[in-house]
């Protein structure tokens, strides 16, 4: 067991974990944050994308101990405390940018930092930006439309 200190969605957790425990599993099984999904467990699908110190990473490719001393942000942190959806979440809903919803948390966390840059995004840039996140339901186009709209003032 290794003692780690990890900030998740603004709360610091002091935990003892086996060194081989993946970041996905500490989030999901130890902290109950099951919004982060596991799609392939090898970094190919992007379903487990979370923000580590503000940058998107594949939580399935990291050990929990590697996240010690850093801050993690998951999908559960996007909407406001009163439940009001983040503009990106709202846009995805309006554009039907999700169907089964399983890739959605990872998709959201892959896109969120782009949006937070405040620059309007063009469709091709969004298409490139989400190329690492697999969605088997939507064909991506409505996701791209949603992100473009959410990026505009």
């Amino acid at each position: 067991m290794t003692a780690i200190s990890i900030e998740v969605n603004g709360t610091v957790h002091e935990l003892d974990v086996p060194p081989r425990l993946l970041l996905t599993d500490i989030l999901r099984d130890r902290l109950g944050l099951t919004g982060t999904k596991i799609g392939c467990a090898m970094g190919a699908c992007g379903a487990c994308t979370v923000l580590l110190n503000g940058a998107p990473v594949r939580a399935c490719l990291m050990f929990a101990v590697q996240a010690s001393g850093r801050s993690v942000r998951t999908v559960e942190d996007l909407a406001a405390d009163d439940g009001e959806l983040h503009p990106l979440q709202r846009a995805l809903r309006e554009h039907h940018g999700l169907q089964c919803g399983y890739c959605t948390p990872g998709m959201l966390m892959a896109i969120a930092p782009l949006l937070e840059s405040g620059q309007p995004l063009e469709p091709d840039a969004v298409r490139e930006a989400i190329a690492g996140n697999l969605c088997r339901c939507t064909g991506y186009e409505t996701i791209i439309d949603a992100v473009v709209e959410a990026s505009r003032p």
């Binding site: 099984d29 089964c100 996140n133």
Partner: protein, 770 residues
């Protein structure tokens, strides 16, 4: 059957209503099977066969038992009393080879489960699985996979309608095409999974199960474990995609159930991606051949088809039959045809057993038929579009050469609309100009029909059909409306669609309608979600059940308002008297009176404000459409860029056009994957070669163009409210459009194409050989 009971003003059906499912999914609050945590839950991992064919000589699990955290190990002995997985398929002459949960004597494909290790967590379970020692003797290639099927061919059906041979003998032009449709993997982002939890106090087995058909899965689990169906509950909070891959009963589920019963603890098995790719829900795969006879004016006279599917290691279950049966029976499509001969069947092999997959069989026949039409056009010297125009069925009803009765559709209208949108005439000029500059552009057109809403009156593709579907509509003491559906959405937004329909019946908003699905304890019996059937069955069942409850509500209002029934109206969650705005009663007050007011109860007879109702369409429904694609092929690399895809879809009345378009886009994406990317590969020794998503290529955002969509609405005659059902059609018709476009771009080298997907190396080789 345009009998939608629009008692209230129609306000929600037909609109782009935002989905009720979305907020939970967007915030991470929605649970999938893998998110459910039960107290004392254990995790299960499998020991799987590393070889395609071997006799098991010993299975030593002692090492696993001593691994820290391991709580139990199951081998063939522990599963000995479990029946083979249930098989619903009844086809004369089929040689069935049942799937045993853990086979014990021999293994027949790489990834076949041979033992299960249960531990405190998945890490320990996998450690335990690693410590199991499986000894085996490889079996000679020449020994049959199953003793009862010496040549591997477990089913063959040969049939003919009309004088096929005479038509071919007289034909001015005969074209023939053979195409190998590849094996693919369904690949929902959420793979399969189960949590089994046994309550020894009352003998109930609860299974959280990612399944498209909760009630049939319940029956299948009960049958395998010799439990009464009433003692099994199947539920699933939400499903992360399925696409046909979650229709079958897996041996893995039965192992988890037995482990839970034996250990008296909840046991979870979640299929990881490596398992899903190695031994999970594979789909498609057919060796397909089609011949067509034409007159010199381009009239199609006859077709002959031959399909052989390699369906993997076992010849039982729907996955072993549906691909080649539907392929053979969907060959006529939308073309006038008087004579057709089919020869179809399956062979077993050392591959993972096939599962149904979106566009099952239809994709194979559609692709081959449309490619063959293009071949014929070239052979006859007739424009490809003109050849189709000469043979397309006229809009309206049609009875095929196989006696399938299509309800009226917009076959030609959708076709012409798609040509207009893709600017076929303008494209030909552009193509010629590009050719002159060495650029290879191509166009493909794929008109399709999709039999949906399959009930008792029609099974798909020559398979016997049966069905039994219900829905329950209830109003509780607070006046809140609940709908319970036996279908189970895996992305199609059923809750929203059902809520829209019911909201209109009761003059409430969709948000006020709670829709339950995915739980056998809370929903009435039904077949589940597959084959584009759910729209038809949801509309049919909820309208019947809703009408009964609504009538009771109105009778209660008659008593309370002392009004004549014809004067009552439902407005904004109340029942009122027309023209008398002060005489209105909210649904809650009506529900309260129906529960407790003796004079109202007496009037109602049975005062319960709940009804389950059955629906079975008199005949299948038929959606249709046309897909057009424009591609550019790089003459150097053979790489394909899709420039445009146009879809014109007619699924009858659309309850939620936004959801319909979502299904179209997703279907197109699946079709592009099949045409250009996805390919499951075994090497010559039966070893899987594409066991990660780095090797098995799913379409990414950069592989797909924007998709242009238009609608025609020809209301269904057989589905309530004109609903026809859809979602498989675009998936099955897109590969034809893309493949025809690529072959057009590289013509005349397209004759050398013999298999899908059209990989760059395949195309480059064809280009250089010509």
């Amino acid at each position: 059957m345009n009998d939608w009971p629009l008692y209230a003003q129609q306000r929600w059906a037909g609109k782009r209503v935002q989905r009720l499912e979305d907020p939970g999914m967007l915030t991470g609050a929605t649970s999938y099977v893998t998110d459910v945590q039960l107290p004392r839950m254990l995790e299960l991992a499998f020991v799987r066969s590393p070889v395609p064919h071997a006799r098991i000589t010993s299975l030593d699990v002692d090492g696993a038992r001593s691994v820290p955290g391991v709580r139990g190990v199951l081998g063939p002995a522990e599963l000995a009393n479990v029946h083979p997985t249930m098989d619903f398929v009844e086809l004369e002459g089929a040689l069935k080879t049942p799937r045993i949960a853990l086979p014990g004597d021999r293994v027949r494909y790489v990834g076949e489960p041979v033992a299960a290790v249960v531990a405190d967590d998945r890490y320990a379970a996998e450690d335990g699985a690693d410590a199991v020692v499986l000894s085996f003797e490889p079996i000679d290639d020449r020994e049959p996979i199953h003793e009862g099927i010496p040549d591997g061919r477990y089913f063959r059906q040969v049939a003919a309608r009309g004088d096929v041979d005479a038509a071919f003998a007289r034909a001015a032009c005969v074209v023939r095409r053979r195409l190998a449709i590849q094996r693919v993997v369904t690949s929902p982002l959420e793979a399969c999974g189960i949590i089994a939890d046994y309550d020894p106090a009352d003998g109930e087995l609860t299974c959280y199960l990612s399944t498209q058909m909760p009630h049939l899965a319940r029956a299948a689990i009960a049958e395998a474990l010799a439990l009464p169906v009433s003692h099994v509950r199947v539920l699933c909070p939400a499903m992360g995609g399925a696409f046909g891959g979650k229709e079958v009963m897996l041996p893995e589920y039965l192992c988890a159930a037995v482990a839970a019963i034996r250990l008296r603890r909840p046991v979870r098995w979640v299929e990881d991606r490596s398992e899903a790719l190695t031994a999970g829900a594979h789909g498609k795969e057919a060796d397909a051949e089609l011949e067509a006879a034409f007159d010199d004016d381009g009239s199609l006279r006859a077709m002959r088809s031959r399909f052989v599917s390699d369906t993997g290691a076992y010849s039982s279950g729907i996955g072993a039959y549906v691909e080649f049966m539907v392929a053979a029976y969907s060959v006529p499509g939308l073309y006038r045809l008087d004579a057709y001969a089919l020869d179809t069947g399956g062979v077993v092999s050392h591959k993972a057993p096939l599962s149904p997959f979106r566009g099952i069989g239809m994709t194979t026949s559609q692709t081959l038929r449309e490619v063959l039409f293009d071949d014929a056009a070239r052979a006859l010297g007739i424009d490809r579009i003109e050849l189709r125009r000469r043979n397309l069925v006229d809009d309206g009803p049609w009875r095929t050469v196989l006696d399938e009765q299509y309800e009226p559709g917009s076959w030609r209208t959708a076709f012409e609309r798609a040509l207009e949108l893709i600017d076929y005439a303008g494209f030909l000029d552009r193509q010629a100009a590009a050719r002159a500059n060495g650029r290879l552009l191509g166009i493909g057109i794929s008109p399709f029909v999709e039999a949906a809403g399959l009930g008792s009156a029609g099974g798909a593709g020559g398979l016997p059909g049966t069905s039994h579907d219900n829905a329950t509509v209830s109003i509780d003491l607070s006046g809140a409306i609940t709908v319970a559906l036996p279908t189970f959405s895996h992305g199609q937004g059923h809750r929203t669609t059902a809520a829209q329909l019911v909201a209109d019946m009761f003059a409430v908003t969709p948000k006020e309608v709670r829709v339950l699905d995915g739980d056998t304890a809370r929903t009435p019996f039904g077949m589940g979600t597959f084959g584009s059937r759910s729209g038809v069955f949801i509309a049919g069942t909820v309208s019947q059940a809703g009408r009964i409850v609504r009538d009771k509500l109105l009778r209660a209002a008659e008593v309370l308002l002392e009004a004549a029934p014809e004067d009552l109206e439902l407005v904004d969650g109340t029942v009122g008297v027309r023209g008398a705005p002060t005489r209105r009663i909210p649904l809650a007050a009506l529900a309260g009176a129906a529960h407790f007011a003796p004079h109202v109860r007496a009037e109602l007879g049975d005062p319960t404000l709940t009804a389950s109702a059955f629906f079975d369409p008199p005949r299948p429904t038929h959606s249709n459409g046309t897909i057009a694609a424009v591609v550019e092929v790089d003459p150097g690399t053979g790489g394909v860029t899709i420039e445009r895809i146009v879809v014109v879809e007619d699924c009858g009345t659309m309850v939620n056009p936004m959801i319909v378009e979502g299904q179209i886009r997703g279907g197109v994406a699946h079709g592009v994957g099949l045409a250009l990317l996805e390919r499951y590969v075994y090497d010559e020794n039966g070893q899987p070669q594409t066991t990660t998503l780095a090797e098995y290529l799913l379409p990414r955002s950069t592989d797909l163009p924007a998709i242009e969509i238009d609608h025609v609405e020809t209301p269904s005659e057989n589905g309530t409210a004109g609903v026809k059902g859809m979602a498989e059609g675009p998936a099955s018709a897109t590969p034809a459009a893309v493949v025809c476009a690529v072959l057009d771009a590289i013509a005349p080298h397209g004759d050398l194409i013999e298999e899908l997907p059209l990989r760059p190396e395949t195309i480059a080789a064809a280009l250089s050989e010509g």
